[in-house]
Symmetry: C2
Subunit: 329 residues, 2 copies
DNA sequence: GCAATTGCGGTCAGTGGCTGTCCGCATTGC
DNA sequence: GCAATGCGGACAGCCACTGACCGCAATTGC
C-alpha cells in the first residue's frame, strides 16, 4: 500500500510511543509497529534528521528514548490529556497567572479548533464545575474568548450583541483584529462595519453567541499596536467603572509582594513601613476579606462602600462565631 | 534527497500551518512548502487518510482548513504556546479543578520530558511568580510531581529524602508505581527497596531533589488499585492531621454546590434549609474567607480554633474600618 | 448568467527512496 | 566473557512520489 503515508504514520506513531514511555528497545518498537528492527533504526534516524532528539543507549539496559531538544516535537495527547490541557488553558486564560493570558487564549483557540466534540463537551462540563473560587474580575467564558481569538487569527467577521456603557444593547458586525488583556479586563479591537470605524469592545459586555461570517479585510489596528490602541481608548473614554479599593497596610511593600497578586492590585510604599494597596479594577468583597488574612494591621482607605463592606463582613464573622458559642451551650 | 522524510516533514508542516490559521488556499500552501499544487492536494489526501479531517471549500473564497475530527491530531505548538500549556497544566495539577489533577500530572510529565530547557526555565519562572493566591492544601512543586509521575510511568527507581510523621528524616530508595490524588493530598505508592515492602509516601513530605536510578521491576500495586491501596493505608494509620473545619450555612445544599468547590469541602444537608460544610483537610483561613463571602448567614461549628479565627478576622476588619474613620477625621 | 477563483482527480513518465535481509562491530551489564 | 542491545554498510526489488497537463465541478461576486 501507499508506503509514504505508512512511513509518515509510522513516524508519528513512533513519536507517540516515545512520548508515552521513556524507554523502548528496538525490538519492542519493531513489534509494536510491525516492521523490521532495521526499519526502526532507520525511522529513528529520520526522526533525528527531523530535529527530534531520540537518545539511544546500547547494552543490555539500553533502548530508545525521546530527549528534550531544541524544538518541541508535535505533542501526541490521548483524550484525557487533551481535556486536561484544555481545562488548564482555560484557567490560565482567565487569569490566575499574570502574563500568559493572551498566549493561553491563542493556544486554546488552536486546540479548540481541532478538539473532537465529545472532548469539547467534557471540557465544558469540567470548566463549568470549576467553581469560580478566584472570582475576581468580570467573569468571561473562556470558550467565548477562544472563539473571538480564533476569529481574530483567521480574520473572520463576527456579529454579536453588545451592552454599551449606558446599558443599551446593540448588534455589532465587525472585523476582529486583536484580543487584548489589560491585567484586569479583556478587550476586543475590531473594525465596526456599521459605524465604519475601529472600536474596542469589552468582552465581558458581549452577550449571547458569536455569529461567524465571511472573511474580513482589515486586520491591522491603526498604529499597529493593539495594546496601545486599547490604552488610548480607555484613557479617552475615561473608563474607570466602579472606584478602586484602597487599603493601607502596616508593612513595607517588599513584605507584601509575594502575598498580593500583581494581577489584582498594585502596591505603593507610604512612609517607611506602610504600603498602599490599590485594586486594579473595582474592589470586591473578596479583596477585602483576603487582605484581612494578612498578618499585619490594615486600614481601609476608601471608598466609603469598602469601609461599609468591611463593617458588614466583620459583623457577619462575629455572628458566625457567636452562633458557634450558642451552639456549644 | 530523502523523499520520505521530506514528505513526512511536509505533512507535519502542513498540519502545523493548518493549525496556525484557519484558511489556506492550495497555492498559498504550495508556495509555503515549496512544492507543486498537485502535491498539496495529494498531501491533503494523505492527511485525510491518516484520520485528520481537512475540510476544503471550492470557489473564490475557498481553501483548506483543519476541522475537528474523531481523533486529536498531533499538536504543533510554538514556544510561547508550549509555555502556556505547561503553566496551565501546573495550575490544574495543583488543583483548582476537581477531577483532572492526575491526568494533568500525566500530561505535564509527557510535556516536560520533551520541553527544551530554555522553555522549562520560562515555565519555572512563571510558575514561581504565581503568587500562591489559592494556597489551599499543602504546597507541592508541580515539577516534583511531574518528575515522580514520570518515574512511575517509566518504572525508574528513585531515591529521595522523606520526612516521616514524627518529623524524622530518612533516605528512601524506591520503585515507584503510582501517584494518587485524594482530593486533598498527593501520595506516591512505591516499593521501598530497603524495607522490602510497599509503602505510601505523602509527596508534600518529600524534600530536596529526586535522584533517578535504574529500571525497576515492580510496578503493580498489591491489589491492583493504587487509589484503594492509599485509602487503606490512610485508614490504617489513622492519618487525620489537623481537624477539619465545619461551618453551618442557612441555605440548602443545592444553593451551595456551585459556590463551594468539591475539592475543598463536602456539603451535607441539615434539616430543611441548612447545610453543614466540612473541609476535606484541616481548615485554613481561606476556608473562612469564602464562607464569609456567601450571602447567607453562617455559623462556625468548630473546631474552637476556627471560631477564634473568625473572631479575630472580625476584629481585624472592624479595626480596619475604624482606622478608616479615624483617617477621615 | 457570466467570469474568476479554487478544489478535484485522472493519467503518464521518470526517479529514487523504502524495505527486508544479512553481516560484522561497539557498548553495556551481569 | 556472554548476552543483549544499538549501529550502520551493502544489496536487490519494488513501487510510491513528484511534477506536468488536462478537463470538470462548485462557489462567489458582479
Amino acid at each position: 500500500m501507499h508506503t509514504v503515508i505508512q512511513t509518515s504514520a509510522r513516524l508519528l506513531s513512533l513519536l507517540s510511543l516515545l512520548q508515552m514511555r521513556r524507554e523502548w528497545t528496538g525490538s519492542e518498537l519493531a513489534e509494536r509497529l510491525d516492521v523490521g528492527a532495521r526499519t526502526i533504526r532507520r525511522d529513528v534516524d529520520k526522526l533525528r534528521s527531523l530535529g527530534y532528539p531520540v537518545e539511544a543507549a546500547p547494552g543490555v539496559a539500553g533502548g530508545y528514548r525521546l530527549g528534550a531538544g531544541g524544538e518541541l516535537p508535535p505533542l501526541l495527547l490521548d483524550d484525557a490529556e487533551a481535556v486536561a490541557v484544555a481545562v488548564g488553558l482555560r484557567t490560565a486564560a482567565t487569569g490566575s497567572i499574570a502574563g500568559i493570558e493572551e498566549t493561553s487564549v491563542r493556544a486554546l483557540a488552536k486546540l479548540e479548533q481541532v478538539l473532537p466534540s465529545r472532548l469539547r463537551r467534557r471540557v465544558r462540563a469540567l470548566g463549568d464545575a470549576t467553581t469560580s473560587f478566584v472570582s475576581e474580575g468580570p467573569q468571561i467564558d473562556p470558550e467565548l474568548l477562544a472563539g473571538i481569538a480564533g476569529a481574530c487569527r483567521d480574520a473572520i467577521r463576527v456579529r454579536f450583541a453588545y451592552i454599551a456603557k449606558d446599558h443599551s444593547a446593540t448588534q455589532r458586525h465587525t472585523e476582529p483584529a486583536a484580543v487584548v488583556h489589560t491585567g484586569y479586563r479583556w478587550y476586543l479591537v475590531a473594525f465596526d462595519l456599521d459605524r465604519d470605524d475601529w472600536r474596542t469592545f469589552r468582552i465581558d459586555r458581549i452577550r449571547g453567541r458569536l455569529r461567524l461570517g465571511g472573511r474580513g479585510r482589515r486586520q491591522t489596528v491603526p498604529g499597529g499596536d493593539p495594546a496601545a490602541f486599547v490604552k488610548r481608548q480607555i484613557r479617552r473614554s475615561g473608563e474607570s467603572g466602579a472606584p478602586a479599593g484602597q487599603i493601607l497596610i502596616e508593612a513595607p511593600p517588599e513584605a507584601l509582594r509575594r502575598r498580593v497578586p500583581e494581577r489584582y492590585a498594585t502596591i505603593e510604599a507610604v512612609g517607611d513601613d506602610e504600603s498602599l494597596v490599590t485594586t486594579r479594577g473595582p474592589w470586591s468583597p473578596y479583596f477585602l476579606v483576603w487582605m484581612s488574612l494578612l498578618d499585619e494591621p490594615i486600614h481601609v482607605v476608601g471608598p466609603p462602600e469598602l469601609v461599609a463592606a468591611a463593617r458588614s463582613a466583620a459583623a457577619r464573622l462575629n455572628e458566625a462565631a457567636v452562633g458557634a458559642d450558642r451552639a456549644e451551650q
